[in-house]
Symmetry: C2
């Protein structure tokens, strides 16, 4: 295929990660140096920015700031959660996208996100093919959940895992300073897949991690949980560290976080709602059962934006995946997502490949059952061997007055 | 005064910090090299370890591990919250301490902690003087709360402040990725003093911090709070970041965290208790008032154990304060606490001095009213100028397989 000449647009979608902007840095720097790409645009708030013709002219940005994107967490362009309807049900958005693509001569479309975003990307790709508008469409993966199929791991996971493991080790030390019982419940993100919660096992591997780990892949049984905790409590002088995925569910499919919801619907003494999560529900239950001090710690947003504790391996691979998305597209590839493939052998090496958007859209990869210990409360050495290479090397933003210097984009809107 | 020959003991007390072991490293390395000090002991769980004759022989430790203490968070020896009775009310503990001091020929006593611990230290000092047992007693300050008097700042504050400011900047970016309203409430430690919550103002100074900051020094008024939030919400497209001290109270002295307590006393649908904090209470209130997405983030233990994001300035000063405590004691000083004094002038320089234990015991230093903006929702430039030098330089533990390598002490118990 010959080189396709025109403009390029890149959008960020879904929940941010601490390295999502490293993808942007890779796409932008590579697109800006390609002769066949004239203008490089960044969509404000993903697909919505394209629909509304809100996008930034990346050529106007200072290259130094684009470089800083590598260590700037969260979606610098703004993100969106927007589910495209099926075109056969409602073609409005598609027609509008085609109109915008034509108006701005968009011939390269890069979309950065998780499985929902790959679904968006896939739908747009198929539509442009159907109407015969020549445009190279390339998905750029991103998710701390690590749940995309057809890729060994996902950009963003290594950094989130490194932060979670590091913070868990630190909390472990803190939670062991008194000679009195204390049960600490750590809540990690992950609605359906336990990859990130499993990263706390890296702390256990270092001797400073949870005694018990619960992931959504295993049906959560409250009675067994209480028994598990009591057993560790007795063996361990009352010191128990537990890690749970936010998304653990019981056998009826009810989220454990919902156990508190009947209460949450009630109002406090001033007539206001209370909010609460999985760790808090479980800490409350343990407090009642064991009558001991408990603490619920939710890593919350911290785990997905901790660029100050990123994985260098993750940042570099993510940047490169962004660059390669552009190169592959320029070489004629379309309708694909860039993916990671791990080389066979003891030494970790990450190769890149392309996979069909169709295949990755809307599918989820869960922790293999055999990487979870038989009793469902820990991870095996196979998981450690898998995850450890992904967290190697420390990445953090440059400092200015002792604090991170994050990228400051000018965000010059493209002229309509 | 001549050199006093004998043994030394060091204990850690109160809530840990990410640099508390840097004090230990300073005390230990200095004490081990002093000719007049024979054995150096580390008390297990502070004063309790002394009362129970549980202490470690620090001379048996690998010097490399003692060096690693500098970047190992939480109390490596174990901590304690133990309030000594007044000797005139109950002299039991004092007699026991004297017995232990005599038995082990303890002539140097170093105690590391906040105002409660300085009270313990002071009481022991006065008792030993009273009974004529020659022992040099030296307090070594420690607290993320930064609330000790007679010292410009406290060991542990700079690192906690650096972590809090960094994480706040990251959360700010994360909380701004969607073009939909979101109110985020960050909860920072500090029961009576707002120093650490004020550190979020460093993030605001960098343009990535809270719009509103509430500290315990200002009486919390719920109606004003809701008005404040609504005003920012309207001005800011629904994006609001709020930082609150855990210890904010209303005009009746009721903690805001207790507003949810009537509810907390209730049970969830499975008959179990719910727990919750200040941020959660406020997020619930805002959710009801503004009918928007809210998120409560509690920095919890993370803020006091984040050695991976420490302040180099803090770590170095803390280590030096530990060393100096020993040197001063060897030179004949007793009944004092090591304190920091900031040089006059533009350039930051920290000097060391000694202050009377009597004066620092049980007193609290709060944020000066004039460093809080008139409307009570922010900090002035004076605070920024005060705090910024304390967070300079990045300190983090050495890495091993991508994760922190913390000190591993052998903890060889002293023979009884």
């Amino acid at each position: 295929m010959g080189k396709l000449v025109g403009n390029a647009i890149f959008g960020q979608s879904g929940g941010p990660t601490s390295v999502i902007n490293a993808s942007a840095a890779g796409v932008f720097t590579e697109a800006l140096r390609q002769d066949c790409i004239n203008k490089v645009y960044g969509a404000a708030n993903g697909i919505r920015g394209i629909l509304e013709e809100n996008f930034y002219d990346i050529g106007m940005e200072d290259p130094k700031e684009l470089e800083l994107l590598k260590t700037t967490p969260s979606s610098a362009l703004g993100s969106v959660r927007y589910k495209l309807a099926d075109e056969k049900d409602d073609g409005t958005d598609y027609k509008r996208l085609l109109e915008v693509f034509k108006k701005y001569d968009i011939r390269y479309f890069f979309y950065n996100g998780g499985n929902d975003s790959m679904d968006t990307c896939n739908k747009i790709s198929k539509y442009m093919q159907k109407v015969g508008y020549e445009c190279r469409v390339m998905g750029v993966p991103k998710t701390i959940d690590n749940d995309l199929t057809e890729t060994d791991h996902c950009p963003g996971y290594g950094s989130a895992a490194r932060y979670v493991a590091t913070a868990t080790m630190e909390v472990y030390l803190d939670a062991h300073v008194y000679d009195t019982p204390m049960v600490c419940v750590l809540e990690v993100m992950g609605r359906n897949a336990g990859w990130l919660t499993a990263a706390t096992a890296l702390a256990s591997y270092k001797g400073l991690g949870p005694n018990l780990i619960y992931v959504p892949e295993i049906v959560f049984d409250m009675d067994k949980f209480i028994k598990d905790v009591k057993a560790v409590y007795e063996k361990n002088n009352g010191n128990v560290i537990i890690a749970v995925s936010e998304g653990i569910k019981d056998k009826d499919g009810k989220y454990i976080s919902e156990y508190g919801s009947d209460l949450a619907k009630q109002k406090d003494s001033f007539g206001h709602s209370q909010l609460g999560g999985t760790a808090q529900v479980l800490a409350g239950i343990i407090k009642d059962e064991l009558n001991c001090k408990t603490r619920a710690i939710e890593f919350s947003l911290l785990q997905r934006c901790a660029a100050h504790c990123g994985s260098k391996t993750d940042v570099e691979e993510t940047f490169m995946a962004g660059q390669l998305a552009v190169r592959y597209a320029v070489e004629g590839q379309t309708d694909k997502m860039v993916a990671y493939e791990r080389s066979e052998g003891k030494e970790y090496k990450c190769n890149f490949k392309l996979v069909d958007l169709e295949v990755v859209a809307n599918t989820e990869k869960k922790l293999p059952r055999e990487w979870i210990t038989e009793d469902g409360t820990g991870l095996t050495q196979d998981f450690i061997d898998y995850a450890l290479p992904l967290i190697q090397g420390a990445s953090s933003p440059p400092l200015e007055e002792g604090l991170p210097r994050f990228a400051k984009l000018k965000k010059v809107l493209a002229t309509k």
